[in-house]
Amino acid sequence: MATPILERLGLRGRSARGQEHKHTTVEKDGAMATQTIEEAPASSAGEGRLWIDGSELRDTKAPAGPIEGKWAKRQFEAKLVNPANRRKLTVIIVGTGLAGGAAAASLGEAGYNVLNFCYQDSPRRAHSIAAQGGINAAKNYRNDNDSTYRLFYDTVKGGDYRARETNVYRLAEVSASIIDQCVAQGVPFAREYGGLLDNRSFGGVQVQRTFYARGQTGQQLLIGAYQSLERQVAAGTVKMYARHEMLELIVVDGRARGIVARDMVTGEIESHLADAVVLATGGYGNVFFLSTNAMGCNVTAGWRAHRKGAYFGNPCYTQIHPTCIPVHGETQSKLTLMSESLRNDGRIWVPKRAEDCDKDPRQIPEEDRDYYLERIYPAFGNLVPRDIASRQAKNMCDEGRGVGPAVAEPQPDGTVKQVRRGVYLDFADVIKRIGKDAVSAKYGNLFDMYAQITAEDPYEVPMRIYPAVHYTMGGVWVDYDLMTTVTGLYATGECNFSDHGANRLGASALMQGLADGYFVLPNTINDYLADGPFPKLTPEHPEVVAAVNSTKERINKLLSVNGSRTVDSFHKELGHIMWEYCGMERTEAGLTKALGLIRELRDEFWRDVKVTGENEEFNQTLERAGRVADFFELGELMCIDALHRRESCGGHFRAESQTPDGEALRHDDEFLYVAAWEYNGANPVLHKEPLEYEYIELKQRSYK
């Protein structure tokens, strides 16, 4: 099986290969579950190779020349579409968050026909809305040596040198325009008494370049994009399909030409056809079940595209945020983030002895407390980067010194153990130093939020925090134009892999989503659309019919299993496997074990899942079942990616690759590349895109 695929590798001739691929996928789809599972044990146990090495991959779109001029050059060289011709071209955009909503509005303004899809009841609900902290932009309004170049540098370094220089530079370059655009739309950013915009520092960088709107920056930016989007809906350039979920990509003659979507109210399986398709469907953190993502966030759109030929970049890069409200019990459905700024004044500790863990923290004397971050990292103390703070909290709880309610956790040996997952974030010192009122002025809203969720008063009792999955740096592989390896298919925002390397800096996700949506995609997609309109398609076209039928078969299969376990029980178990073995610390043994567990569980899912109701109705169980089915396949790929990357970098910590004192150790000699995975059942094909740093010098991080 390996040889013919190897022969077909490489970027050239992609469309021909895409087509062949598609046939196999369509054939496989109905019996997909059983087929891939049959293959799985053989590859992991037998040959010892879980993946196939493919050809090298390169971005061919970024022009040559100095980095400062690349974007302008690309904008000039890209083919244009005459305004009169734009209305003859249709673009499908899946997702209405910052990336999708901004792109739909901008392309609508440009005059294209846009079909915009979201699974929520309104485009305003996309999960970009939940971002709290702020948005970075190289405005240098503070006169503190900030510049495009510094934002570019910080982002690459923050990403632990695993991001593509050209994309990141462009991100920094357009960042200032984002703020202009948002202010013009009426986004009420924080202002000073002089009426000008306020800034704060964020995420450990040394300049003040973060614009914010109280603790609701994401909400305000999204509402701005949403308003622009609704303006285009009113103008008739954008047609909105809310409560529609993309379930399949339609590829015809090697080009992405549409999607299959399910109307979530009527259950109708519809094909929607266009000249290009844009995925702006966010991250896949919900593969862990518990994350700070919204309940509906899923990987289905990206994964369906991956199965149709879009490579998936760096799936194992996951950001785990250290300051979230801990799990309260087995029925927990999601986790809530608390702003990272709390670590500026709070001191993190756990009891020195496990037997103190259920005591009232105020009764534990100073000498019995372990301020472990201050102890291990005397230089940075509680302000170490996110990944380090997270990993140490996990270590403390693994040692049995966690605090808060004990939650049952299945152990590797099959037993169940009660583990407390939480550490204290104590404000007693700062309250003593500056007073309760001053603390309240700084963190009042966060304290209130904490009190509402936990019913504990953080002014009196230390907060309990624990890390939670927050963002996925990995995603669909794209080139400089944001086009995936499927011609005519684009990916923007968190859905793509492009800008954050192995770790994302605070306040950069909003920046990337809006940069892609407002300024990048609308200036690159024209290069492709200039060749259109492509031959007219009808819903009767065999490829369209095949995509619709494979979607229907899959739904029928889910509905016909009629087993005994609920969808959520599978999702929770998958999440637990992922969290345990592909979470904050990964080992070869753990990941190998996880792969076996996932495959067993996926097999059980397709044998024993219970999906109630029918397709032709509003059926939330069916929606979730489809998403979980794709999470199983993604989870496998994440483990394979994490297994193959035998280095620690950013959010990916491999226990085998650490310095003598337990810090992450990169191996630039071996792993200075993007891992772009091509779908191939249980044995994905690895394409390496080498990362070449012309402008930034590679360094190893240290925080001691």
Binding site: D121, V183, Q185, L197, V233, H328, G329, T612, F618
Partner: protein, 253 residues
């Protein structure tokens, strides 16, 4: 905790609905209200009963997707000590052995889709009628070119925190969406960028509000009382002021 739930079940928009009673054991006081419903649905699924449909997404009180009437008040505000969304209401707000009534938003502008899920697309259409500033991407001047006095920016922000959940409509005895509409009017009317379209905006948004079948405002104040984001009632007066002013302006619909 053991609780008794009386939940509105309605198979689809055209079906007749009714309250159904379910017993639920092992409810933890730390659960959010929606996690309690998850627990109910897991139990129902295992028993072969179709689970209760309810809208929800972010579960951190910001997306505005969730919302049911709990014991007669929107988002269970009557049971919560602080303004809340349904997802941020916790079971500790209820006593062991309590009976909890759960109903969908009921309003002419919000037809029921299934069980506790309603169609709120009318809100999107009200925004489409003018709840925006017409600026094309790329056409913006420098962000600091126009200063905005802090008080205006803050007032705009207070109104802009609306999450579009629809609790105001659900609570209003008139089924009016004035608080929602006026929040957007106020947000944009307070900012210099919103001035050029200010008068046409208020006319067309109010016209769309009425066309959607929402009732009129009689200043009762239930809307602001249940609003999870504390949108103040005086935004409605702002809308009225702007509307009266707009009647003497030639522009707009």
């Amino acid at each position: 905790m053991n609780i008794t739930l009386r939940v509105w079940r309605q198979a689809n928009a055209n079906a007749q609905g009714a309250m159904q009673t379910y017993q639920l054991a092992d409810v933890s006081p730390d659960m959010s209200f929606l996690e309690m419903l998850d627990l109910l649905n897991e139990k129902l699924t295992v028993e072969g009963i179709e689970p209760v449909a309810f809208d929800h997404d972010c579960r951190e009180g910001i997306c505005g997707m969730c919302g049911v009437v709990i014991n007669g008040s929107a988002h269970g505000r009557g049971s919560s000590p602080v303004p809340t969304t349904t997802c941020q209401l916790h079971m500790r707000s209820f006593a062991d052995g309590a009976t909890i009534d759960i109903e969908p938003w009921r309003a002419g502008g919000f037809p029921v889709i299934k069980d506790l899920v309603v169609d709120r697309t009318a809100f999107d259409r009200i925004i489409q009628a003018g709840g925006y500033i017409s600026v094309n991407t790329g056409a913006a001047q420098d962000a600091n070119a126009t200063p905005v006095p802090k008080v205006d920016a803050d007032r705009a922000f207070d109104a802009a925190t609306c999450i579009g959940c629809g609790a105001c409509v659900a609570a209003c005895p008139n089924g009016s969406a004035m608080l929602f509409t006026s929040a957007k009017i106020t947000h944009l009317a307070m900012l210099p960028q919103g001035q050029p379209e200010r008068w046409s905006r208020v006319k067309s948004m109010v016209a769309q509000h009425d066309a959607e079948g929402f009732g009129g405002c009689t200043n009762i104040g239930e809307c602001a009382a249940v609003c999870p984001k504390g949108i103040p009632l005086d935004t409605i007066s702002q809308l009225n002021r702007d509307l009266m002013h707009a009647l003497f302006k030639p522009d707009g619909k």
